[in-house]
Every structure is written in C-alpha cells, then in structure tokens.
C-alpha cells in the first residue's frame, strides 16, 4: 500500500537518526522535506485547512518522543472487562481514514502523523518493565496509530520483531488494516510477534474505511504472515449493527476460516461501535454521508453512543455462535463491554486483565 504525503517534517535533533535517514531515502520524489526545531509544533492542527485532521494525516513529522513509550491501553478502565495490554506508542495518527476512528477526537489538536525517531529508547524502557514483571507481557503498537502503515518507509517493524524475537516473556502485537507485510516476511519472529488484523464486512469497508486494504487483502496477508511463522489474531471491532449485520459478519468469518487455518488463530476480539458524543459529532461532520455512522446507537450508561443493548447483544451472540461452530479454539473476548454483558455473551465472567493478558501473551488458546 502506498499513502500520499504532502510533506515530511524532521526535527533538527532527529535528522541524523536511522529512522529519518530511512524515510528520506524511501520517499517518493516530490515530497518536500522540512527541518524544524520542534516537531510538536509541526504536528499541531492547521486550523486554516478545510479538514485539519485529514491535513494532519498527510504530514509526517519525524520527532523525538519526550514522554514514556509504554502506557496502559487507553481503553482500560475499572468499568470494562479488559485484556491486560500494554501500549508502546511509536507513532501517532494514521494515514488511513476510518469514519468511526477515535483518533478524530483523541488527536484532534495535534493530528500530524508523528513518528518517534528515538524509538530504540522504548526497548530500554521495556527491559526495565519486564525486569519487574511476574507474568508474560503483551505489548501492542497499534492503539494511536496503525502498526504497519508506512512501514515501507520507516522499516520500524524490523527492529521491533528482532527485539521481541529474543525475549520469550514478551509478545509484540502489531495491529493493522493494511497488507504492508513485506518487511515482516524477511525476519524470523521466533513466534514472539503476533500480527492482528481488524476486519469489517465489505459493506463497512466500502462505506467507512477509507484508504485501508480491502478485507480480502487483509485476510490474505494474515495467511502469508502465518506461513512465515508469525502468530495471528483478528479484531472484529467496531462491529456495526447495520441492517443485515449478522449475515455480513458471518460471511466475513466464513472468509477468514476458509483462508486461515482455524486451529492457528489465537484470538478473535469483538467490540461494538462506541463513540463519545464528541467523536460522533466529529465523525459526522467529516463524513456526513456515511450511513454506517447512522445506525441505531443511543447514549449508553458509560456516556458513549452504542447500538441499543438488545441489538448489540444479539449481534455479539450470533457472531460468537458462528465462531464457536468452527471449533477453532481461538480465544474470544469482548473489548470495552461491562462484566454483565461479557457474561451474557460469552457465558463466563471476564478473566482478570492480567490473566487474559498473560494468556494472550503466551499464545494460550481457549483449548490451551
């Protein structure tokens, strides 16, 4: 996949880094490169632009990360069942543009596509964290950015996979909607990297997931990395409860199970569409003609718009039944739903975050 850039800004201090050099060498001709004293300023929203968020996505900013690289998952809270995930923030924002994406609200003020050239510092941080950890850890890079978008420019995945390949107590999760896997195929991950694809039915893809790889291409990429020794998982998230959704998600799972050996899928996570009022307003402003943003969502007790509860639970149950029919042994979990809904849909109380996180890090499947 190739994404277009209007310009690349490189923080003076970072211009000699390996990452800056790699990006500049791989840039297509004609993309202007500007050196700036402070990348944070270049990443700020250009309020004069018609769509400052979209403009930010086309502006890569290579800069130093000034705060910690490792954080808890932004979705984690006492309110929800949680998968015990640590996030490694190596980039912020994404060149793709999904109508429902929470980044529209989360990074609205600094939407420049930031890539942190000092990412090797994250490895030192991680070494310190693992020294104090009493369980295997699962670390993801795909929360504030897609893990593989622009990997053809940054080549970051190679360093990441190599680092994790040498550490049996860690699992790296690269989460993506691209098929940008060429770098991965060159490296032996020693089973320490799991690549997960967020999947949506064709109708949702066409309506809302702009510039992402088509679902069939994502599934094909999953098969290829699996064959190359990576572990794979899938996120059906957000699940959009449009008319015909049960049929659409079932057909999507048919495709997945036909292409990827089911016994080797580690997990399938499920999460219904959820939007804060601010995100919903921003999304509708940016995509006023997207019918996927006009489902039967109501304001839920957690302050987010979600499909009304019976509809949402029925859909979760139908999807879970389809997965169960496959007897794949893949672990199924719900993202950002409360314990009552978790129990209702999956028939068991949610495991403690640490336990689920450790099981996912270990690669333990439901039957494992």
């Amino acid at each position: 996949m190739r994404f277009e850039l209007d310009a690349v800004y490189v923080e003076e201090e970072m211009r000699a880094t390996a990452l800056a050099r790699r990006v500049i060498a791989a840039l297509p001709p004609g993309v202007p490169i500007r050196h700036v004293p402070d990348g944070r300023i270049a990443a700020r929203a250009d309020r004069a632009a018609a769509d400052p968020f979209a403009a930010g996505k086309r502006r890569m900013v290579i800069m130093r990360r000034r705060s910690r690289f490792l954080t808890g998952c932004p979705a984690a809270s006492n309110e929800f069942a949680c998968c015990g995930y640590l996030v490694m923030e190596l980039a912020s924002n994404c060149p793709m543009d999904c109508g429902y994406c929470f980044l529209q609200e989360f990074v609205a003020d600094n939407p420049g596509f930031q890539v942190y050239a000092n990412y090797a510092d994250a490895f030192a941080e991680l070494d310190r964290v693992r020294a104090g950890a009493d369980r295997p850890l699962r670390i993801g890079t795909g929360e504030l950015a897609d893990s593989l978008a622009f990997d053809s420019l940054t080549g970051m995945s190679r360093d990441l996979v190599r680092y994790f390949a040498g550490r049996d107590d860690l699992t790296l999760e690269l989460k993506t909607k691209t098929d940008e896997i060429e770098n991965l195929l060159e490296i032996d991950s020693r089973g320490r990297t799991l690549v997960s694809w967020t999947l949506s039915p064709e109708r949702v893809f066409r309506s809302s997931e702009h510039r992402t790889a088509p679902p069939a291409a994502r599934i094909a990429a999953a098969r290829r990395v699996l064959e190359a020794g990576y572990r794979v998982g899938f996120h059906l998230d957000p699940i959009i409860a449009c008319d015909g959704a049960e049929r659409d998600y079932s057909a999507l799972l048919d495709e997945v199970f036909a292409a990827v050996p089911t016994a080797r899928i580690e997990f399938i996570s499920l999460g219904g569409l959820r939007m804060t009022p601010g995100l919903r307003a921003a999304a509708r402003r940016r995509f006023p003609r997207d019918p996927m943003l006009l489902g039967e969502e109501v304001l839920a007790p957690d302050g987010r718009y979600r499909a009304f509860a019976p509809l949402r639970m029925r859909l979760y149950e139908a999807i879970n039944r389809r997965i169960a029919r496959e007897k794949s042994g893949a672990r199924v979990y719900l993202c950002m739903e409360n314990a009552a809904i978790y129990r209702r849909v999956l028939g068991a109380a949610p495991p403690a975050p640490a336990a689920l996180g450790a099981a996912l890090a270990d690669g333990k499947r439901r039957d494992g």
Binding site: P291, E296, F308, A309, P310, L311, M313, A340, R344
Partner: protein
C-alpha cells in the same frame, strides 16, 4: 440569479422563531422540493424552533441512510397522516417527532413497543413499576415497588412472583434474548 420564491418565507419563519443560523443555512441548502416541504410542515404544525431542529436532524439522518430526499420522508404514509390530521399544531408536532424517531430507529421502536406491550399484559397492580432502560441503552431492567406497610408489600411481592416467568422473559428481551429474527 434571483432567490427562490420560498426563501423569504423561510427566512421570515426562522427569524420569528429564532432558528439558529446554521439550521437556517442548512434549510436553504436543501433542494427546492425538500425546502418547500419542510416549510409547509413547520407552518402547518406551528412548530417551535426546537421541534424543527429535532425534526430536521432526524430527517437529514434518515435521508442519508435511506438515500431518500426530505420531501419523500415527509410524504410517507405514517407522516402524512399526522400532517393531514386534525389535532392541535403542538400535538401533531410532537407526534411527527415520534414518527420520525420510529423511522430513524426502526428496530429500537419495534423492540420498545414489544417490551411495553409485554409489560402492560402482565396487569401488575399499582405500586409495581417495571422500568426498562431508557432507549434500551443497557441490558438492565429495574423493578420498583412502592408499598404502604407490610401487607401492601406482601401483596406486591405475591403479584410479582405469580408473574415471575413472564418477568424473566421480559428481562431476557431487554438483554437481547428471545427476539424473533425479523424483530430487531
């Protein structure tokens, strides 16, 4: 180019009702038929600005979702019945909003209707209130008892336990269980 014939009337209506400028702008951006149909509705039902805003938002959303113009939504039989009906303007305006909500949220409307009917069919005494969550936003049902003294309370509890099976079914419906395929 001269302004469309109804523009002055729309502006006049908006000024009289203090319709916020962004809504006026959106109204004027509609195609001629949609704009006129909305004006006819606003005038005919003597709508307040808040009602027009709510109706406008719902109609725009329906229009995008169903790829149908606003005039076509206002021409639907269930809407036309309200517009052509004989009740008071404010009453019909409220009914119009209800009808538009049901078109915008058809599955929610059906689900709410079924649950409401099932609760009514229980014939529970006054003092027991079965409250499904607002807009079925959560899967949780509430049962409230208002009793004067122990005898009263015992009566309510007896009435509840006689209807335990039906109540359990309603609780399941609220939690997404027991629906027919085409219902939601």
């Amino acid at each position: 180019m001269s302004a469309p014939a109804d523009e002055a009337a729309i502006r006049e209506w908006a000024a009289a009702r203090r319709l916020p400028a962004p809504y006026l702008a959106r109204w004027l951006e509609l195609g001629p038929e949609d704009r006129a149909a909305l004006l006819e509705t606003a005038v005919g039902l003597r709508m307040r600005a808040g009602q027009l805003i709510a109706a406008f938002d719902l109609m725009e959303e329906i229009s995008v979702r169903d790829a149908r113009p606003v005039a076509a939504i206002l021409a639907r039989a269930e809407v036309r019945r309200i517009l052509d009906g004989s009740g008071s303007g404010p009453g019909r305006a409220a009914a119009l909003l209800g009808a538009l909500r049901a078109i915008r949220f058809p599955r929610l409307a059906r689900a709410t209707e079924r649950i409401t009917c099932e609760i009514a069919a229980l014939g529970l005494p006054r003092g027991i209130r079965i409250a499904p969550p607002r807009e079925l936003a959560s899967g949780e049902i509430r049962i409230e008892l208002a009793a004067h003294g122990s005898e009263d309370l015992r009566g309510l509890l007896d009435a509840l336990s006689r209807r335990a099976a039906e109540l359990a079914r309603i609780a399941d419906l609220v939690a997404g269980v027991g629906w027919n395929d085409d219902e939601i």
